[in-house]
């Protein structure tokens, strides 16, 4: 019997072969801003460990290359990713000369390509397994726990990104909580204002086009400009409205960032509320009216629950978008993970950029998976109930 190739597996095997044998695994630098020297897997790890890692990668790539059972592919991808995650920490310790606090070891292109290749394999397996929403959140939790465990165990302590973290541990959590507060707070404000506005637009046809057009135009203003433009009016409010300054409203800082994110969030919330309400079947509404329900009862008992999955989709768009946009708040002194990104760009210190970028991407990614799962659950529940 001739073995059959898996098409995606061919791609994965090819890029992982390149990454494992031709690309650098880690970069060593004498201090944080000088250009680095590349180290291959065998140079970056103790001899036996390096050979072991290569063996694991080759085995996993072979499993990906041929048509193999899904369970085997799942095991191969998890195994390869775990080995990579664990051993990049070992490389950090191995390459750092003892007692040297200036030397920096960071993952290099080969490591990232290998992570990409096996994440691709994992994503393919998970897609084919067609997991239930709860199971997907479960996978996310397990992955988060594994990463948390690696962080706590200290096995990554000698990697450059964590060295940047140790230098700024306090400000990292402060900026992180600012980032989350900005993203979630502006979302909450947008929901509080956007839902009634959407309902109003649904009921009053004359209002709909006007409101949606204005919100559409706000979306075209580049984020850095909108952040900047809000500095002046908020500065004025702080100076002239008694009590405003005490509430933390200031020209620069968190207030304009919050208002800008709120304005960007309104369109998806309002538009999806309108679309969701418009999609409520006429029969459902008629039946409710026939039963003698009042307008308010109809809204909360029938229309709103039926439109809920669509509205949630709008909220998902807003949350993911806000987590990304909140990085720009740093430009106007609004804090958030963007502080590290822009500091890093300014100092050409890429580890610092990563310290800001990695948590942002992780947050956005987790938010997308969790909300997607919630949307799917509410949508299927609805279908079961209406069936």
């Amino acid at each position: 019997m001739t073995p059959r190739f898996d098409k995606l597996g061919v791609v994965i095997a090819a890029i992982s072969a390149y990454a494992a044998f031709a690309a650098p695994f880690a970069t060593f630098r004498a201090n944080r801003i000088v250009p680095g020297q590349a180290r291959s897997i065998l140079e970056a790890l103790p001899a036996t460990t390096g050979t072991l890692l290569l063996a694991i990668i080759v085995a996993a790539a072979l499993i990906a290359l041929f048509k193999t059972p899904l369970v085997l592919r799942l095991a191969a991808s998890v195994m390869a990713l775990a080995a990579l995650a664990l051993l990049i920490g070992v490389a950090g310790t191995f390459l750092t000369p003892a007692g040297n606090t200036f030397a920096r070891v960071s993952p290099a292109s080969g490591f990232w390509i290998l992570i990409f290749a096996f994440t691709l394999l994992l994503a393919d397996v998970l897609t084919r397994l067609n997991l239930s929403p709860l199971a997907r959140v479960g996978v996310l939790v397990v992955a988060a726990l594994a990463i948390g465990l690696l962080l706590i165990s200290g096995s990554w302590d000698n990697l450059s990104i964590l060295k940047e973290y140790f230098n700024r541990a306090d400000s990292f959590w402060a900026e992180g909580s600012k980032h989350v507060t900005l993203a979630l707070g502006s979302l909450a404000a947008a929901v509080i204002v956007g839902l009634p506005l959407g309902i109003l637009c649904h009921r009053v046809e004359n209002l709909r086009a006007g409101v949606l057009n204005v919100l559409n135009i706000i979306q075209t203003i580049p984020s850095i400009a909108l952040f900047g433009l809000l500095i002046a009016p908020l500065g004025w409010v702080a100076a002239h409205v008694p009590g405003a300054a005490a509430l933390g409203i200031r020209g620069i800082g968190t207030a304009p960032a919050f208002v800008a994110l709120f304005l960007y969030s309104l369109l998806p919330v309002v538009a999806n509320t309108v679309v969701g309400l418009a999609g409520v079947p006429r029969a459902a509404n008629d039946a409710a009216r026939g039963m003698g329900m009042t307008d308010r009862q109809r809204l909360f008992g029938i229309e709103f629950p039926l439109a809920f999955p669509v509205i949630l989709t709008g909220i998902r768009i807003v949350l993911v978008q806000n987590i990304g946009l909140a990085t720009i708040a740093a430009l106007i002194g609004g804090g958030g993970f963007g502080v590290f990104v822009f500091q890093g760009v300014g100092q050409t210190a890429m580890d610092l950029v990563l310290l800001g970028a990695v948590p942002t991407v992780a947050l956005a990614f987790a938010a997308a998976i969790i909300l997607d799962a919630v949307i799917e659950m509410t949508a299927t529940k609805r279908r079961v109930e209406t069936a």
């Binding site: 898996d6 098409k7 995606l8 691709l120 994503a123 393919d124 998970l126 897609t127 084919r128 135009i217 979306q219 075209t220 203003i221 580049p222 984020s223 850095i224 400009a225 909108l226 952040f227 900047g228 433009l229 500095i231 002046a232 993911v320 987590i323 990304g324 946009l325 990085t327 720009i328 430009l331 106007i332 963007g338 990104v341 822009f342 890093g344 760009v345 050409t348 890429m350 950029v353 990563l354 800001g356 970028a357 942002t360 991407v361 956005a364 990614f365 938010a367 997308a368 997607d372």
Partner: protein, 249 residues
């Protein structure tokens, strides 16, 4: 609303935009109240016209590249040979959208250096997603009877693709391009944080020197460009949709 009013407004916006980028001096009295301490009113470290053209060029290059790659990928995964990749490509598009543009931009710098290149990479990656998604929708929701008829008429796979499937999906693909261009126009301004020559330069100069007039002129030019291009592409989309007898989404 009268039917001619939107066209008139659009025309006025075009005239205003062209007048502003070619002769910003005319508008100085309007913006003057926004500055303090005799700060310059009009951006003075480069011509607004050049920056606008460079901004548009960056967006154009990125969008053309993204369109070619995204449509080619969508065609690949909708052929029988590439069908295996379809579910995976969908989840990848979903994951890709969670990457914030600033992060992509900053992470591209070590690989390609400062300037226009990281911006092009970020715009390209960001532009891919909406176009790919729409091309996929277009190619997978073709009316089955039309495709069958094309097969029955003895068309080869290539002929079906170029003469039936792509023309029929054109309006939906154009919709994706429109979304991608509008996102790119705004995202390109962030490129100036890594020293790309775009209109973001004007806005950032305004942020750094606390000059509201700079922020406003940079922001308004980008917003006007976005509104006009969005309108123009919507019109082309409606035109092709009418020709194809398909409703644009």
């Amino acid at each position: 609303m009268k039917a001619w009013l939107p066209s008139l407004l659009r025309l006025a916006l075009v005239v205003l935009l062209v007048a502003f980028v070619t002769n910003p001096g005319w508008f100085e009295p309007l913006l003057k109240p926004l500055t303090e301490n005799n700060a310059p009113v009009i951006y003075n470290q480069g011509s607004l016209l050049t920056l606008t053209l460079l901004h548009l060029r960056t967006v154009l290059i990125a969008t053309v590249a993204a369109t070619i790659v995204a449509v080619a990928l969508a065609i690949l995964v909708t052929r029988p040979a590439g069908a295996e990749f379809l579910p995976l490509s969908r989840s990848l598009v979903n994951i890709g959208q969670t990457f914030p543009p600033v992060a992509v931009l900053a992470l591209a710098v070590p690989a390609v250096g400062f300037g226009e290149k990281p911006t092009l990479i970020a715009l390209f990656l960001y532009g891919l997603l909406p176009i790919f998604e729409n091309a996929l929708t277009g190619l997978t929701t073709l009316p089955a009877n039309v495709v069958e008829a094309a097969r029955g008429a003895g068309m080869t796979g290539w002929q079906r693709l170029t003469k039936v499937e792509l023309p029929l999906s054109a309006p939906i693909i154009l919709g994706g391009i429109r979304l991608s261009v509008v996102i790119s126009l705004a995202t390109a301004t962030i490129g100036s944080t890594v020293a790309a020559k775009t209109l973001g330069e004007v806005i950032i100069a305004g942020l750094l020197s606390n000059n509201l007039a700079f922020i406003l002129q940079g922001g308004l030019i980008v917003a006007a460009l976005a509104v006009l291009i969005y309108d123009g592409l919507s019109a082309i989309e409606r035109y092709t949709a009418r020709r194809m007898g398909r409703e644009a989404e």
